[in-house]
């Protein structure tokens, strides 16, 4: 189809077209300008791909190296001992379990809270609804960094310091604005008519919401849950400030505290822990790329 369109216009401007590297005839077999440009483009992309992945070499080598150091080197003996240590070692296992508790708990809270709010925001029109949605969006621009001092004071006064349950709640609240927007958007895609049909069949509104709408918005709930999980999983500053008990720290803090204890850093342990820490995040990116592209950009791609 595009070939038909490549027929040059009746009065081409030869100089201009040559300069821009366009073929003057569609059947031109070799296009030196174009292939040169493509080679250049590939070179740039390959260079960028190297830039993106080369730093990972340390992680992948050190995690399997018996004598890992901070430097990138091919292990003289490949081993899984670092991973065995990680899971056999109380500290390593505890970090992983802690991270799962915080992120899992925050996700659970978020799914319930954001689903409820997203449903009514999508289904009811009421004065101030639009303002509310835009207000939530504005809240999203506040980073924990800006208000970490009062957040600490408030958390302390509520007894949330070093508390699984407190830290989980705080982590959940930071993921809420995004989750709320996502959930509302997902419910918007479920036609109201389906719900109305259920009412006609005698279902109460609540029942219709649970039995009919929620299953249809299921994939959306899943995507929002994934995004919330990873957001909480990656968080560094909030645990850094709210948790001082080493038994309660998540992986991010464990990595940091192990890294700054210059004297006796166990690099193999650090690398193995990093691998375990990275896996859910990478899996998530593969699974949820589409939803993520839309959420990060707030409807940037394609809508």
């Amino acid at each position: 189809m595009s070939d038909d369109l490549e027929i040059p216009p009746a009065a081409p401007e030869p100089a201009f077209r040559a300069a821009s590297g366009q073929p003057t005839a569609p059947q031109a077999g070799v296009r030196p300008g174009r292939s040169l440009a493509k080679t250049g483009a590939y070179l740039i992309l390959v260079a960028l791909a190297l830039f993106a992945i080369v730093p990972f070499s340390w992680l992948l080598l050190a995690a399997f190296d018996e004598q890992a150091s901070i430097f990138v080197k091919v292990p003289s003996t490949w081993t899984l001992d670092n991973f065995v240590n990680l899971f056999a070692n109380q500290d390593g296992l505890r970090l992983i379990v802690n991270s799962l508790i915080y992120s899992g708990g925050a996700t659970l809270i978020l799914v319930v809270v954001a689903t409820m709010a997203g449903y009514v925001l999508s289904r009811y029109s009421f004065p101030g609804r639009r303002t509310f949605m835009l207000g939530v969006l504005l809240i999203r621009v506040i980073p924990p960094t800006a208000i970490i001092a009062p957040l600490y004071v408030i958390a302390a006064s509520l007894g949330f310091l070093d508390s699984y349950y407190g830290v989980t709640l705080v982590l959940a609240s930071w993921q809420l604005p995004l989750a709320l927007w996502l959930m509302k958007g997902f419910f918007d895609t479920v036609p109201l008519e389906i719900e109305e049909a259920a009412w006609v069949d005698g279902a109460t509104r609540l029942k219709a919401a649970f039995r009919v709408v929620l299953p249809l918005a299921g994939p959306g709930v899943g995507a929002a849950a994934l995004i919330a999980f990873i957001g909480a999983w990656n968080e560094f500053l909030i645990p850094l400030v709210l948790i001082s008990d080493p038994d309660k720290q998540p992986i991010a803090l464990g990595l940091f505290r192990a890294y700054i204890s210059y004297t006796q850093v166990d690099w193999g342990f650090l690398a193995a822990l990093s691998v375990v820490y990275v896996i859910p995040a990478v899996v998530f990116y593969v699974v949820a790329r589409r939803a993520l592209q839309q959420s990060v950009a707030g409807g940037l791609a394609g809508t």
């Binding site: 009811y124 408030i154 890294y259």
Partner: protein, 298 residues
């Protein structure tokens, strides 16, 4: 969508919204309001001023405005945002996305593979990203970058000592640019092919097509992304703190680290709150524009 008609509707609405309001109110809005209040006190982390802080008026703000460390931290943050978010992750990323995107008379192979690789830097948590670069940019001869330089007879460069600010900026570009490219490429591919074909038939060069067709059509998306990445970059903490803790000296002390140190290392909660309020003002201003851009989406 239906209007709220009965008391039952009102109850459902209030009941379903309350948990969200409590969470949002409790840990984001309330701390933001509390930050303003605390910024007018001499609240400390420990000691007498922790228990009974005194109202000190604008003293914290006066101290900030007179503090050269605060000035340089703000300037550094603006430079960090300009270099990594605006130039790196938006302008540069968009240009490269244009190379990657499928468009009439331009199709590169392997783009899904490139896209997958480009996602990795953003996929890793901040803490791991920092560790990766602690190794890659190690300042001794055995560091990976320096070994690369050694091959062409240069170095070793003490990346995180002598060039710490440049290094953390590059690390942040590393983290954000690939994903930005993938997003922008998707946006460019969403432009109807006929539009691009028409411009080619009219004799536009690749540059003219880029400048006169692609950029104007995607202007709203570019702006939205620019605002979002600018805002998040202002709030960056973990990546830089993990790598340098603001040092050496304070050359990488971006505003997030300044706030953290004032509040939790010098125990001046009041002063830290005041710095946070100033950051918040900048972000809410940018945020207001972002919300205005997004107003159609509600």
């Amino acid at each position: 969508m239906r209007p709220v008609r009965s008391w039952r509707d009102v109850l459902t609405l209030v009941g379903f919204l309350t948990p969200a309001l409590v969470l949002l109110g409790g840990f984001t809005i309330w701390p933001a309001v509390w930050a303003v209040y605390q910024s007018f006190t001499n609240k400390a982390l420990t000691g007498f001023e922790a228990r009974s802080p005194r109202f000190v008026g604008l003293e914290n703000y006066a101290r900030l405005l007179g503090d050269p460390d605060f000035h340089s931290s703000m300037l550094r943050t603006f430079a960090f945002v300009l270099l990594s978010a605006v130039i790196g992750q938006t302008i540069f990323a968009f240009a490269i996305a244009y190379l990657m995107a499928d468009r009439p008379r331009w199709r590169l192979g392997f783009t899904p593979l490139f896209a997958a690789l480009f996602l990795l830097p953003l996929a890793v948590p901040e803490a791991v990203a920092a560790l990766l670069w602690a190794s890659t940019a190690n300042g001794t001869e055995e560091g990976l970058l320096n070994r690369g330089l050694g091959l062409i007879g240069l170095g070793p460069v003490e990346w995180l000592q002598a060039h710490a600010f440049e290094t953390v900026t590059v690390v942040n570009i590393w983290r954000g640019i690939p994903f930005a490219m993938v997003l922008f490429a998707a946006a460019i591919e969403s432009i109807p092919r006929t539009v691009l074909e028409a411009s080619l038939i009219d004799g536009a060069s690749a540059w003219q097509q880029f400048r006169r067709v692609v950029v104007p059509i995607l202007r709203p998306q570019i702006l939205t992304f620019l605002m979002l990445t600018t805002i998040t970059t202002f709030g960056i903490f973990g990546l830089v703190f993990f790598l340098t803790r603001g040092g050496p000296g304070n050359v990488t002390e971006i505003i997030g680290i300044y706030i953290f140190q004032q509040a939790f290392q010098f125990f001046q909660i009041g002063l830290g709150s005041a710095a946070g309020v100033l950051l918040l003002l900048v972000l809410l201003l940018l945020g207001a524009y972002y919300v205005w851009l997004m107003r159609e989406q509600v």
